[in-house]
Symmetry: C2
Subunit: 412 residues, 2 copies
Amino acid sequence: MKKNVLIIGAGGVAQVVAHKCAQHADVLGDLHIASRTVSKCDDIIASVRAKGHDCAFTAHGVDATKSAEVAQLIRDTGVQIVINVGTAFVNMHVLDACIETGVAYIDTAIHEEPDKICETPPWYANYEWKRREACAEKGVTAILGAGFDPGVVNAYARFAIDQMDEVKSIDIVDINAGSHGKYFATNFDPEINFREFTGVVYYWEDQQWKETTMFASGHEWDLPVVGPSKAYQSGHDEVHSLATNYPQADVRFWMGFGDHYINVFTVLKNIGLLSEQPVKMADGGEVVPLKVVKACLPDPASLAPEYTGKTCIGDLVKGTKDGEEVELFVYNVADHKDAYEEVGSQGISYTAGVPPVAAAMLVASGEWDAKAMKNVEELDPKPFFTLLDRIGLPTRVLKGGLKGEDMAWTDL
Amino acid sequence: MKKNVLIIGAGGVAQVVAHKCAQHADVLGDLHIASRTVSKCDDIIASVRAKGHDCAFTAHGVDATKSAEVAQLIRDTGVQIVINVGTAFVNMHVLDACIETGVAYIDTAIHEEPDKICETPPWYANYEWKRREACAEKGVTAILGAGFDPGVVNAYARFAIDQMDEVKSIDIVDINAGSHGKYFATNFDPEINFREFTGVVYYWEDQQWKETTMFASGHEWDLPVVGPSKAYQSGHDEVHSLATNYPQADVRFWMGFGDHYINVFTVLKNIGLLSEQPVKMADGGEVVPLKVVKACLPDPASLAPEYTGKTCIGDLVKGTKDGEEVELFVYNVADHKDAYEEVGSQGISYTAGVPPVAAAMLVASGEWDAKAMKNVEELDPKPFFTLLDRIGLPTRVLKGGLKGEDMAWTDL
């Protein structure tokens, strides 16, 4: 049984994590939040207080790229669980601090280095999985990629596969059918958002890594609630762990994009404005174009008040059971406006921020306190779904595939 | 009779000016070229030498935003004619230096201040025309906007109007039907190029200034050689002087754009990447987005070797003669590849760079040595056309309008 939580980061997802932790402070204990800019943490705590939560919640300043600084903060606060929702560039530093101090670590996205994109698959092997032995030796629970995608969709895959004798394919589909009313905006940090799409798209088919490029492979998916939606194969973290854990299955990730998004992305990319490498300006100064694009785009957190519509994210898993072909689509539908009303954030931040809190509650209760490094599909999905049903992200299933019978996962 | 020429600037247009001056050093005397970066001047002189010209040609460093520095250089070199093809931000400083030293001034574009776009019409009244009296008092010849457009097109208007009793409308159409083979590029400094299109589009109709926005008013023009081409009303310098000199005529400027250009422009503009105002980045630093876009786009000079196709720029002038409605289309067709072979530049730089050299030759010969400030339509077009015919930009006429009989201007 672990308690007391340190949240690293103070962006849109951290806001959701903070609110959800505060709603469940009875389980999670004292709360702390730390980021380079303490005032952002103060703002988040103020928004939590405004909802009437009076739990212990303290803001701290920390440079999370410095492992020793994070470790000191863990010792000073006495937390036993760290939820890392800072930029993906800090993951390894925060993980190392957790290993050093022996506390549980939870994150929602893979580690990245600022000057590299789309490294060799499987991505986890380049960074996080190198700490597997260290976690096992010290009995440290580290849950990797416990947001929605990666995270909940890994649990969806595991749940579906558990119903089958053999799995043949896992297609993860992420459709945001919401509207923010701006000419163009990204739903989370543009720098991380675009980095996902500017390099090679890796997927796993025929028991090997294959490559395509962004927007080269598209498919129209007819999903519940949001209806027919065009989605394109994209590189995504969960493909890299699922392909490693289920090498017999094809594993693909599909992200929904409208024509307008693709056009804007294509223009920016072709001109070189999405580059993470600095360019030299006429006055001799250097600047990273992607950081300038980020400065010009709306702050993703600012989209929340006007965001309307729904998201549908799920896994279409195909396999066999008792010699028959079977298909399951395991999914969730979330609503942008509901998310804003509950925690002051848009739906994308909400779906990313609620699951790591559920994971933290399962670590606190001992159900997911694995004392080892785990990707989400390596943990029992049922207590996770039970908790998500209760705290805002209910799991549903279409039995027989996308045209199948709609039911709660508990009715399957 | 004046001689010895100082070229200010070392970009793509300056390269053409330098080559053309060297070809006519017998008329123009000793040549000098000055820019902030002397090595660019050296490169231009080297390219002139490579064509076998052995005239006196000297490179100098100058900060042309400092009038006193330019004046000193004029005195030191003993030049009597300055051709200013530096950035539009330096015009007034160079003009003041010419007035102070009593030498002739020629430029190709209107003065601009870095932090302002599309000021109140007529644009010339905000800057250059404020020096009219000073020029008259000191007997200084200042020829404003003597590139192609503005410049040659002003002379086209004057020539056509001289054939009529009354002018009713002047539509200037600029079509570049060439191809540079890049995803996207501007034909001259992107910073100046985009600034033309991001603000209000002013035009003159019914004896008053009217406003529209870029790409709001389009028309397909069926021009000689390049064929039917879509062009859009754009703000342009020459509208502002022609409307002042011929207030009874409607005056409009039309720039040809393909759908691809418009799409790229629209995306960049809507995101805010064409802004001349600084934005704040996540690290606290400030940067002007337009300068970053410029850094990402190809250097216009680099387009020259691969540029193919032709430009057609001309004036459709409508009026009456002896009580009959008459139309003339006065135009030039230039070829990108021919320009590159002759002077190492693409056609847009060529059409902009040849006319100010013709103007300088007319100042040298005395024909255009007006000892006052003049826009090009205020000068006799015939010696200008005669010279342009000879040095690379022949003038042709369609008598009766766009579907009329094609002839040399001398045959009209």
